[in-house]
Amino acid sequence: DAGVTQSPTHLIKTRGQQVTLRCSPKSGHDTVSWYQQALGQGPQFIFQYYEEEERQRGNFPDRFSGHQFPNYSSELNVNALLLGDSALYLCASSLMPRRSGYTFGSGTRLTVV
């Protein structure tokens, strides 16, 4: 039973560039949430996708956008990268309605230089 898969595992980008991160949810899950975890901090909620729509959004600027595909996989896009966007980006999947804790992927480590 495949868990949550994220790609790539590491990424280095230059300020001002755009980046796309990908997530495949755990088998049987239909909901994907994205979190940003800066060094020494807890994960911060970015947004959640269900039925290919953004259902909920955290306190992140419009530079952060996403998409969910019919197979439930998801992408996180960040435009006009800033140094402060450097972080571990975690994807979590769950089944709507949620009955237990989310399953997290291993994340994508994004470094903006």
């Binding site: 949550v4 909901t31 949430s33 979190y35 020494g40 901090q41 807890g42 994960p43 911060q44 909620f45 959640q48 259902r55 909920q56 955290g58 571990l88 975690l90 769950s94 949620r98 237990s100 804790g101 989310y102 399953t103 997290f104 992927g105 291993s106 994340g107 480590r109």
Partner: protein, 112 residues
């Protein structure tokens, strides 16, 4: 604004010790509190506590929710080096849908 605060931020213990990690929350319309263990990258689910289930136990780990004090503790008995990790606490409120509000975590190091 909802807030989750964990203490201590870091802890070093010897193998065999018992540790208690703390989490306090200020959440409107509280719904549930979750504990995760983060080794390297992926947080792994430990417990979920709600108003109807305020105590959970799994092996050497146990957790209690104190609804009156708006807090939770995570206990680990007979610690092992494999328990070394960051322990994250997260709260959900009824209005936040499925968004988790995390604390900064407690970094636990268990030395041989």
């Amino acid at each position: 604004e909802d807030k989750v605060v964990q203490s201590p931020l870091s802890l070093v213990v010897h193998e065999g010790d018992t540790v208690t990690l703390n989490c306090s929350y200020e959440v409107t319309n509280f719904r549930s509190l979750l504990w995760y263990k983060q080794e390297k990258k992926a947080p792994t689910f430990l417990f979920m506590l709600t108003s109807s289930g305020i105590e959970k136990k799994s092996g050497r780990l146990s957790s209690i929710l104190d609804k009156k004090e708006l807090s939770s503790i995570l206990n680990i008995t007979a610690t092992q080096t494999g328990d070394s990790a960051i322990y994250l606490c997260a709260a959900r409120n009824s209005n936040s849908g499925y968004a988790l509000n995390f604390g900064k975590g407690t970094s636990l190091l268990v030395t041989p």
